[in-house]
Symmetry: none
Subunit: 194 residues, 4 copies
DNA sequence: CATGAATGAGAGTTCATTCAT
DNA sequence: GATGAATGAACTCTCATTCAT
């Protein structure tokens, strides 16, 4: 598959992503993607065998982009607390955005249960926990935070974020609600129990 | 609709519930339910128009049963902390149970966005927040807890639970993980920050 | 499946048979049969799952009809030689008929290799060999024939008939050719080698 | 068309033949052949328009090879009976061989009914009849055989062989069965009826 | 009320065939 | 000549939904 093909594959993924954002995962048919890409019915099958396969590729692309975004944002030398704030802000944006892959991702994982090692979402979650733990430790060291259980706090943060994410899709959450929750979390970080 | 009809409706809902537990929401077809109920294809349409309608009824039934269960469990006079513990234990069971409506409920809310007032899940969530808030306040009063933001804590608890619930469906959570999270929460309740 | 359904099944098989006679086995699609029966696309699937299944049923029906035909023709008391002549005449008719299942049957067996025991065609062949053997023996007894290897002759007859049948489909055979072959066979039966 | 082109055509036919042996005629798609030849999709169309056209060429090639084989085997001076025996042995091999064009050939003639003059199979059949007739006459002359209807016998032999060939594809024939049939035929040749 | 046969729309998938490069 | 991406027609199969009985 040559360079041209790669471009087309990109094109398909870009269009498909929009479809997944619009309709989730399960509702999306090969036909939907064909129509979104303005290619032929058979043409799509030259590149992908199923919506599942396409979605996995979309996810990979997405995570690359997220990584890039972070790297760009962190070229200057921020404090640990700055980074955490940036992370939370980004999460807030994601939670509030109507158009996003969140729902599709959840639906995908409902339908497909990949083994733990290959579970993309799981790895992302665990990575995030580790990073947050590190950040809290650094912030503790610099005196910004005062938290005696960085790992527990990191996990708590991630589960709250997950809770907000899913709640945004089901019962709806306002920006105010998210701010409240973030504030509650931060309070727990700066002034530890004793 | 006569008594017989009501019985039949019950029967359909009972069978349908099993199907939803097994297959989620989106994967369930009218055909699936017809087969599970051992009813005629046309017969089902006499009572329900769509899987959506059936699912809403299943949900109502389910919440009644949950309420009943709570009432039974609380006939004796427990302390506020006892009640909270019972609630968390029940949540833990639900999070860990393979067969349950959790996935179906999420899928349903992905597909249907009812207006806030009619959003069943939302009301349940808010009710739970209020009850937990009350319980924390009572436990504060009795000296069991020491928490200066009962509402914030209640909300935090609920979002963590939501986070655990959805994580159980996507990335998997062990019992140990849930215990950790509950412990982390309780720690925050008994020894307040200052 | 009630009586009505059986009638419909019959109807489908009758129409399907015509299609198989027309187009053989492999060329026939479910769509072809649907159109021939003037039923709906989905309707056919209520009764049959595949062209293969339909064809097997058509074959069963066909063999019943053949049996019935023979029984009718043999109500009077014919001599063994008469019966054999009738059989050969029937075979001749079948070989010459443009519209028949012959081609479809061959194509079916090319595509499906049933285990020996369930091989319908094989059983038919072996039955025919046995019957012809019996007939020759009887005709020997009555002095009509003079054949010292009835089983060998029976097999030879059947293979020649198979050869004529397949040749009719590939290289074409005239009535004269068939007559020639039958005559050759009969000559071998009445005046034995020594 | 240059020499290179001829080579390529040869290459295609060689690969295609394997495919036809494997899958018969109807099941073979242009795609199958493209893949077997490791040629480009469009490339195949430069040489051949359809599987049908390819198959016809494969057949021509095949018959040339068969002819060559015979010539080689008959360089010494064998008796007529020897030649007939060789022919029957070769036929036996062909009937028993799992991998061969037999099925494909039949399928091809089911699908295509060439006019008599161009009917390759028909010409082959008639040639064979004539040759066998000649051989029998020679063997009669030399006293090896005693057969008063060489043409009838030749035709009978050919139809039996056809019958065995098709039976091998449908109901299965063992080597013993073929031997029996050949023996039966030979018996008819050496000791004539009277 | 209840049945289940019937309908037809629509999704998935495969390939012969074309055509720009 | 040669390539292989692209097209679109055709086929299989499944269901929501209707309707005569």
């Amino acid at each position: 598959m040559g360079e041209k093909s790669l471009q087309k594959k990109q094109h398909i993924l870009t269009c498909a992503k929009k479809v997944f954002e619009e309709k989730g995962f399960k509702n999306v048919t090969m036909k939907d993607i064909v129509e979104a890409c303005e290619i032929s019915r058979g043409g799509l099958y030259l590149y992908f065998e199923s919506t599942k396969e396409i979605f996995v590729e979309v996810l990979k692309l997405e995570s690359q982009e997220t990584d890039n975004m972070f790297e760009e944002a962190l070229t200057e030398e921020p404090t640990a607390a700055d980074i955490l704030a940036l992370f939370l802000k980004e999460q807030k944006r994601e939670i509030l955005s109507k158009k996003g892959l969140t729902m599709a991702i959840y639906e995908f994982y409902f339908a497909e249960k990949p083994p733990k090692k290959e579970n993309f979402l799981r790895n992302q979650f665990n990575d995030a926990v580790r990073v947050i733990e590190k950040l809290i430790e650094e912030a503790n060291a610099s005196g910004e935070f005062l938290c005696d259980d960085p790992l527990g706090a990191a996990r708590n943060i991630m589960y709250v974020l997950e809770g907000l994410k899913i709640s945004a899709q089901t019962i709806g959450v306002s920006e105010a609600t998210i701010n409240q929750e973030i504030l509650y979390i931060m309070k727990g970080l700066v002034a530890d129990s004793e």
